[in-house]
Symmetry: C2
Subunit: 187 residues, 2 copies
DNA sequence: GGGCACATGTAAGCTGTTACATGATTAA
DNA sequence: TTAATCATGTAACAGCTTACATGTGCCC
C-alpha cells in the first residue's frame, strides 16, 4: 500500500495527456516546477511498476525506442483514490531561516546580504510565475483544468509577495539593530 | 567538505548553550520546529563526528550515561564558516498543491474540503507561532539573539497569513466554478 | 558528419526516518 | 514499584539525486 507521491505526480500528468518518460520529467520540471519535482531516477522505475499494475499502458512512440505512456481506466480510478488520501507533508527545512536564526553568529551585515539576495530571487520567481500564468491562460484546450492550475500559481504569488513584505520588515529591523549598537558604542 | 545542514543546526544550537543530544533534539523540535527538523538518527552520529573533529567537547552530564556537549572555539569558527556558505535549497514538494493541480480529477467538493482542513491547520499554526513569540520575548537572558529569532517567527506569520488569504480566494474561485457548472446544466 | 535535443535506463551513494534495544532517574 | 521522562545509540530501510552508459532522429 506504498502510495508514493511520485505515483500521484506521474498518474496525474498522464491524466492530462499521454507522453514519454522524458517529456513527463520535462513537464513536471516546467509546469509543476514551482511546487513539485521528480528526477529520471524516480520516473522510469515508477512507470515500469505502474505498467505492471495495469495503471498505465505503453503506446508506440513516434520513433524507435520511445514509447508514450497513457493512463488506463484502472489508472484513472487509482489516481482519484491517491488524490483523496491524506497529504504526506515533508518535514520543514528552510536554509535561510536556519541562518537567520543564528544571525548573531553570522553577523548583521551578512544577514542583510542574505535578505537582499533572497529578495532578488523572489522577484525573479514572481516573474516566472507571471509567465506560467500567461502560458496557462493561452491554452484554451485545457479550459476545464485551468481554474485548478491557476490556484497553484496564485499560491506561489501570495507566498512570494508575503516573503517580500517580510524581507522589507526584516531589513528595517536589522537597521534598527545596528543603529542601536552604534548608539551604545557612541554613548 | 560535506557541509551538511545538520551540522549547522547542531553547532548553532550548541552556540546558545551546552546540552545533551536528547535535549538538542527537543529544542530543535520545539524552537526551530516551524522551519527545521532533525531526528535522533542524525543527531547522535553528527555529535560523534563533531567531537572527533574537535568542534564540540563532552562535558560530564548531570547523571550517569548522559553528557552535555559544548561548542569549542574551533567549533564556533566553523559554525561561522558554515553559516556563510551558500544555502542548499531542497527541491519543492507541496502535497496540497499537487492535489489541487489535479483538482479536476479529485473533484471540486474534495478540493474545498482540502482547503477547509488546511485553513484550520494554518490557524493552529498561527496560534503556535504567537506562543513561540511570547516565550521568546519572556527570556531576557537571550536578548542579543532575540531580534534574529523573531525574524524567523515573523516569516512564519507572514506565510501563514498569505496562505489564509489564498485559501479564501481559492474557495471563492471554487464557488464560481460550481455556480457556472450549475448554470450550464440549467440553461 | 557533427552537434543537439529527445529518449531510456541503471548503479552508486547520500540523506533521512523509523523502529528497536537499552538503561538511568524521577515522581506518583 | 511502576510509569513517565530523560538519555544514548544502531540497524534497516525508504527516498531521492547524480552520474553514467547508450542510443535515435533531426537539422545545419
Amino acid at each position: 500500500m506504498r502510495a508514493s507521491q511520485t505515483e500521484i505526480a506521474v498518474l496525474g500528468a498522464l491524466s492530462i495527456e499521454p507522453m514519454t518518460g522524458y517529456r513527463l520529467r520535462e513537464e513536471i520540471r516546467t509546469v509543476l516546477g514551482h511546487f513539485w519535482s521528480e528526477s529520471f531516477g524516480q520516473i522510469y522505475p515508477a512507470l515500469r511498476v505502474l505498467e505492471q499494475e495495469g495503471l498505465v499502458e505503453r503506446l508506440g512512440g513516434k520513433r524507435a525506442g520511445a514509447s508514450n505512456y497513457a493512463l488506463t481506466a484502472t489508472g484513472r480510478t487509482r489516481l482519484r483514490e491517491l488524490l483523496a488520501q491524506p497529504i504526506e507533508s515533508q518535514p520543514p527545512r528552510n536554509g535561510l531561516l536556519l541562518r537567520l536564526f543564528f544571525g548573531r553568529q553570522l553577523g548583521s551585515g551578512a544577514c542583510r546580504e542574505l535578505l537582499l539576495d533572497t529578495r532578488q530571487l523572489v522577484e525573479q520567481r514572481l516573474g516566472a510565475l507571471r509567465a506560467i500564468r500567461a502560458e496557462m491562460a493561452s491554452e484554451p484546450h485545457y479550459a476545464a483544468d485551468q481554474p485548478y492550475w491557476l490556484m497553484t500559481v496564485s499560491f506561489g504569488e501570495h507566498s512570494a509577495r508575503a516573503t517580500l513584505a517580510w524581507i522589507e520588515e526584516s531589513l528595517a529591523a536589522l537597521e534598527h539593530l545596528t543603529a542601536d549598537t552604534r548608539e551604545e558604542a557612541g554613548g
